[in-house]
Amino acid sequence: MRTTLNSMTFSFERSLQQLQAKRFNQQVQLQTGSQLTSISNTPEKFAAAGQISNLIARSEKHQLSIDRALDDLRAGEEALTFVADSLLEIRLTAQETTNATNFDKIPTLAVNIKNKLADLIRNANQDFDGKFLFSGTKTTAQSIEVPATLPPGVVPADIDSNPFQLVSGTQDVSNQSGLTVLFKGNLQPRLVNTSVTSTEQVNVLATSAFGGTNGTSVFDTVIKLYNAMAFNEDGTPKQENQNYTASELAIVIDSIQEISKKYEEMNATISNVGMQIIRLQSMTEQSDTELTRLREFKSREVDTDYAKTVTDLQKTELTLQYSLKVGSNMFQQSLLDFLQ
């Protein structure tokens, strides 16, 4: 077969170009750690990697939501535990006053109950990460407004920017202390996305936490108890050594029963939050597993197989060296050399 110098050099040049392009691609793969050096090289891999990346981003986003939801729920659970503990203490104190030997301490213990009511409200006003826990979607001080109707004797200037507030209004026989707890938040759930199709409520509504239709039932009960302990039925303050009347004792006992019921309800709510936390933790674990699987899958599609690529690069280098050697020999040998 007739061959010419140009046909040999042309093939040689093409081989060199191809080898150099191959080497460059392998070097880029090693440098970037990615097999996807160009969309055109592997469009199917690019599409697969894109889909997996979307799934990973989505899972990461939802995992973040679940983490935050867990934080919010744990904060709510903790605050409710404090409230439940306070309720228990109130009940014990109230029970103490029903003991015949303690009748001389009733006014003193009434002050104690009032302090515990203040503690309850402080716990109800707790915030976490700048958000009130039990005020629905009115989570900031700025969003707390003066209620449209105020108890008698309470003026707008008395209203603070907390969702729960103990106010002193006009005293009368039905409310000898004139104390009332106002709730200024709302009963809207705060929701976060925990998956593409599901949401999770991350706040405990005031009605669930403190009972009643407006979320102040617990406080109303404690105020009723306090009134019975601190005041006579005619509204005058109870004196030292002054025992309960029969109707006052009935109110106290009724309040103790009510507080016990509220305590149980609150524990049930805490328990529900605990269940929700466990469920979300389980979702996090599932999400972790899914993310690991997706990342592994993406890694298989995208990441450079270093062992293979390094070996391939060495093969290419070797082939390149041989090609260059062959090329140098090709240019050395010519009939002209032998004729000299």
Binding site: M1, R2, T3, T4, L5, N6, S7, F10, S11, R14, S34, L36, T37, S38, I39, S40, N41, T42, P43, E44, F46, A47, A49, G50, Q51, S53, N54, A57, R58, K61, L64, S65, R68, A69, D129, G130, K131, F132, S135, G136, T137, K138, T139, T140, Q142, S143, E145, N186, Q188, R190, L191, V192, N193, V196, T199, N203, S334, L335, L336, L339
Partner: protein, 477 residues
Amino acid sequence: MSFRSLNIGKRGVLTQQFAQNVVSNNITNVNTPGYARRTAIITENFSQDTKGGQQGNGVFPQKVKSYRDFFFERDFRDNTSRLTNSELDSNVVQRIETLLGEPSDGGLDFSIEQLYTAFEQASLKPEDVGLRSLILTKAESVVKTFRDIDQRASELRTDMFVKTRFSVQEVNRLTNEIANLNKEIGKFPSEEAAAIFVDQRSERLIQLSKFGDVTVSNDQGGAININLGNMPVIAGTESYKIDLRESVAPSGERSAFFARIDSVGNQLSVVTPNSGEFASFLKHYNQTLDDQDSSGGYTLMSRFNDLANAIGTRVNALFSTGYGLDDPAGPPPGLNFFEAQGGGSISARNIQIATSIAGQPRRLALSDGANEPGNANIARAISNLSTDQTIISGRSAANFLNHTYSELGNIGADAQSGMTAFSLVAEQLTIQRENAFGVNLDEETVDLLKHQRAFQASARVITTANEALLTIINLGR
């Protein structure tokens, strides 16, 4: 009789010298593109009848044979045209990949996903002005990426147009040269006699085929007629100029086309190349990179416009029903999140954050109730758009982009495989051409030696004849 020997020797010397010149020419043109080797065809001179029978009269160079195969050259040109087409397609796709910043973790799909994630993060704590600011920052990134892609694609389009203008000049130069070569070839009795010009014309035809599909037909006097695409650009010794022009449709769609023009620039007809650089240019200029293309083909830029519009419309539809942190009770303020700069519908070129909310994170309407800072129902709904499969063409934004990029990748992959295939054919054709018509230095060296020795022998014939003549002359002394 001795005079005849002298003449035979002389013819031999001259003929071998001629043959040596042909070989020398081959050797020195070993690397000349398009050069086809030549061989001196040497033949015996007419014999003379004598009483003793026919007597030889020496040698003479009959002709210079040029090795050429027009079918082979046609294949080579066709392949060159297709190869250039694939090369330019691949080059354009690579440049688009660069302007898209793909494959990477920082392209448009990443920016859009980051925006949705910012809405999701804000939904976890919508009271937080910092997280609200993050939404605006991420939205700015989306806007910038859309606009950046649009601007760079527009620059690429303009760049292609300018570059193709130079190519048109090159085509006009080549057609002019080929027409002139046709003239020169016509002056010779045969194409073989005008081998140098035929070689040059052949080389220019290959150059011309890089720009478009070239069809060659024979004309009188060794001239050839040439069509570029559907239109003649050379008829015998006359060449027609072509020009790159742009038409503007009433919709504002700007389309490039090649026009055959007369000497004063009037358009005679439209030239439609089917392959080569020009066909690739038209495809990408009028479709891939044209954001107003109405052909129905793959138009990357109109996809980005559609996507920008779809995202803007869907986000606005939700956002406009929401309330910001300081909005009073009553109907929602109805603000948009995205808007078109200068009005009209939102596109990749004009998308921007609505001026009514730009730089004002408290105004972001993330709540579906007034004065409910902890309400993030709008933020969650917008975040959910990331997986909404009804955003555009029955797909989410991410899937739509993934699909669009995959299509682009397939075009690039097709171009690359075309390039590989046509390169291989080009390589084979080049090698075959070189093997058939190229110069083999060893072969030429042998020929050179052969003719050198024949020259020496012929010179020896002259010397011998001279000596014989001298002997005869000396006999008479």
